[in-house]
C-alpha cells in the first residue's frame, strides 16, 4: 500500500504574525516557515504505518512554488520515500487543492491519504473532506488514533462531545489531530540522505486542474485588541470585583 501525505508550507507556529499596513495580507517576508504542525503529525503516522509493515511507500506532496521544496525535503528527511511538488505560483484554495490531490490519487492509487486536520495559517479545515467527497471514498477527520486491519481503518476522532470511533474501508482519507502522535526529530545524516531522494515536479496545468469559484480575500486587518484590565492584590479583592460586576 502507498500512503500520500499532504504537506503545507506555513508561517512557523511560534511566529507572531503581522498584518501588512495596507491590508493586502499577512507579512511573510523573512519570516520563519515550517511544515504545518498537523501535517507533520500526518507524516509521522504514515511513517509508523510503513514501519509496522502495513505500507510500502510514503509519498509527501506539496502545492506551491519552489520554496515548498524546503518542506518536502524536511518530509523526506523525516523518512518519506519520495516527494511530489505540484508547481503553482498562486495561493490555491481548498477545492482546487482537493482536485489536484484527486488527480494524484488516480495516478498513484494510494490506500490512504493522510492530511492535517487544518493548516494553522488560514484555519480552513476543508481539503481532506473535499478530497473524500470528490473521490467518493470515506473520510475520518480529526483522528487521535488509527488502527489498520483487513483493508479497513478504525479511527478514533476528537469531536466536541468526546471521542467518536468510526470504521472506514480503504482507500480512505484521514485528517489528523494533535494527539495522534509526536513527530520524530530529523537527524543530520537523514537531511543529507534526503537530498538524494526523488522529488518530482508536476505543473498544476499538467494535471488539468484550474481554479474556479474562488473566494476573494479583499482586506486584512489586525483583530480588535482587548484592553488590558486591572490587577487585584488578593482573593478577597478578586471575589469582590466579580460580585461588583455581577458575574458571580
Amino acid at each position: 500500500m502507498k500512503i500520500l501525505v499532504g504537506i503545507k508550507r506555513v508561517v512557523d507556529y511560534n511566529v507572531r504574525i503581522r498584518v501588512r499596513s495596507d491590508g493586502s495580507g499577512v507579512d511573510t517576508d523573512g519570516v520563519k516557515m515550517s511544515i504545518n504542525p498537523f501535517d507533520e503529525i500526518a507524516l509521522e503516522e504514515a511513517l509508523r504505518i510503513r514501519e509496522a509493515g502495513n505500507a510500502e511507500e510514503v509519498i509527501v506532496v506539496s502545492l506551491g512554488g519552489n520554496e515548498c521544496q524546503q518542506q518536502l525535503r524536511t518530509g523526506l528527511a523525516m523518512g518519506a520515500d519520495r516527494a511530489i511538488q505540484i508547481d503553482t505560483a498562486g495561493r490555491l484554495q481548498p477545492l482546487t487543492i482537493a482536485r489536484a490531490f484527486l488527480k494524484l490519487v488516480e495516478k498513484e492509487q494510494p490506500g490512504l491519504v493522510i492530511l492535517g486536520k487544518q493548516a494553522i495559517d488560514d484555519d480552513n479545515s476543508q481539503t481532506g473532506q473535499m478530497l473524500a467527497a470528490l473521490w467518493d471514498r470515506p473520510q475520518a477527520t480529526f483522528a487521535s488514533q488509527v488502527t489498520l486491519s483487513d483493508n479497513q481503518a478504525t479511527v478514533v476522532r476528537e469531536v466536541d462531545a468526546g471521542l467518536e470511533t468510526i470504521e472506514v474501508d480503504l482507500p480512505a482519507v484521514i485528517t489528523v489531530d494533535l494527539r495522534l502522535n509526536e513527530p520524530r526529530f530529523v537527524k543530520l545524516p537523514d537531511i543529507m540522505k534526503a537530498k538524494r531522494k526523488p522529488l518530482d515536479v508536476i505543473a498544476l496545468d499538467e494535471l488539468g486542474v484550474t481554479s474556479e469559484n474562488d473566494l476573494q480575500f479583499t482586506h486584512h486587518a489586525p483583530p480588535p485588541v482587548r484592553e488590558k484590565g486591572i490587577m487585584v492584590e488578593d482573593t478577597a479583592q478578586l471575589v469582590a470585583e466579580l460580585k461588583n460586576r455581577g458575574l458571580v
Binding site: 484554495q93 481532506g128 480529526f142 472506514v168 488590558k228
Partner: protein, 312 residues
C-alpha cells in the same frame, strides 16, 4: 433563489445551541432561512428547531441510517435539496467542520469558513492565523455559498418561532464504506463549554488529574463549565473535549477564569469573545495578563480554596 438553509446539529435528544446561532448569522444575511434536521426519530428535535425565531420551515429527514452523524450520509441529503438555496450554513463545531466541506465539494464551490460577521449577502469577515488577522471574504454570487458559522461570534436567535415542519424521506441510502462504532463522552454533567455562561479553566500548572478536582469543585459551585489548556490535555490531566483554543473549542462565556494558564496565542484565540476574562497565575509576567480584565498574580492552590470559601 435567495434563501438560506441551516444544518441543525443535535445529539439525538436535543438540538445543539449552535443551530440557533447559525440562524442568527443566516438572518444577518437577510434572506428567509430554513433548517434541515437529519436523524432517526427526530420529531422533538424538529419541534425545537421550529421554535427558533425567524425560521421559515423545518425540513425533517427521518431515517434510521441518519441516526449517527456521518458526514457522507448527511451531505447527500443536503445536496439533494441544495438547488432550493442560495446559501447553506452549518456551525464551525467539529460536526459542521466535518460535514460542510463535503457539501461544498459536491456542489463544486469553495467554502467560507468561520463567519464572524456578515457584511453583505456574499461578503463576510472571518479570523485567520488563530485569530491574529481578520479577513474580508467575498464569495462568487453565481454559485451557492457554503459556509461554517463561527458560533462564538453569534448570539442564539430567539425562541419565539412557529415554523412549519415538513417531513422528507431520505433521498439516498446510507454509505456502505463508513460505519459508526460509538461515542465515548469525556465530560460529565457540567454545562457545555460552547454554551456555558461561565467557564473555569486550568492549565499545566494544575500538575495532575487529581488536582483538576479543584477546578471542577469551583466550577460546580458557580455552575460553570470546565475547560483546559492544550498543555493540560496533552499531559493527560483531562479529556480532549475540555480543550479551549485554536485547535480545541472557541468559546464566548460571560465569565472566563483561567487558572495556571500562561496564555499562549493559540489558547487566547479560543477565549477572545468572552465577556470578562479573569486570570490567576503565579507568574506575574504571564502573557495572559495582557488580555485579562481582572488579573491576580498568586498561587492557584491558595486562591481556589479561598474563592470557594468566599463564594459558598
Amino acid at each position: 433563489m435567495s434563501r438560506t438553509l441551516v444544518i441543525a446539529e443535535h445529539d439525538g435528544q436535543n438540538l445543539n445551541p449552535s443551530t440557533a446561532k447559525c440562524v442568527s448569522c443566516a438572518t444577518a444575511v437577510g434572506h428567509e432561512c430554513d433548517i434541515i434536521v437529519m436523524g432517526s426519530d427526530i420529531r422533538e428535535i424538529a419541534e425545537q428547531a421550529a421554535a427558533i425565531g425567524g425560521v421559515g420551515k423545518v425540513i425533517a429527514v427521518n431515517a434510521e441510517p441518519l441516526g449517527n452523524p456521518l458526514a457522507v450520509n448527511f451531505a447527500a441529503e443536503v445536496v439533494a435539496i441544495a438547488d432550493d438555496y442560495s446559501h447553506i450554513m452549518g456551525p464551525s463545531t467539529t460536526f459542521g467542520r466535518d460535514l460542510m466541506p463535503q457539501i461544498a465539494a459536491r456542489l463544486g464551490v469553495n467554502q467560507v469558513s468561520d463567519i464572524a460577521a456578515v457584511e453583505g449577502t456574499h461578503h463576510f469577515k472571518r479570523p485567520i492565523y488563530a485569530g491574529n488577522a481578520i479577513v474580508d471574504v467575498t464569495a462568487p454570487d453565481a454559485v451557492t455559498v457554503v459556509a461554517t458559522v463561527r458560533v462564538a461570534s453569534w448570539k442564539a436567535a430567539g425562541n419565539d418561532g412557529t415554523a412549519s415542519i415538513e417531513e422528507r424521506t431520505a433521498s439516498t441510502g446510507p454509505s456502505d464504506h463508513t460505519r459508526y462504532i460509538g461515542l465515548q463522552s469525556g465530560g460529565g454533567e457540567r454545562p457545555d463549554l460552547q454554551t456555558a455562561a461561565r467557564v473555569i479553566s486550568g492549565g499545566r500548572a494544575l500538575g495532575s488529574e487529581e488536582n483538576f478536582e479543584l477546578i471542577y469543585s469551583l466550577a460546580d459551585l458557580i455552575g460553570a463549565g470546565a475547560g483546559a489548556s492544550r498543555a493540560a490535555v496533552d499531559a493527560g490531566y483531562v479529556p480532549n473535549d475540555m480543550q479551549v483554543g485554536q485547535t480545541g473549542k472557541i468559546i464566548s462565556p460571560d465569565l472566563y477564569i483561567a487558572f495556571g494558564i500562561s496564555g499562549a496565542i493559540q489558547h487566547v484565540t479560543g477565549i477572545k469573545d468572552a465577556g470578562t476574562i479573569v486570570a490567576v497565575n503565579k507568574d506575574a509576567e504571564a502573557p495572559i495578563f495582557e488580555i485579562a480584565d481582572i488579573g491576580l498574580a498568586a498561587d492557584l492552590f491558595t486562591v481556589i480554596p479561598e474563592m470557594k470559601a468566599l463564594l459558598s
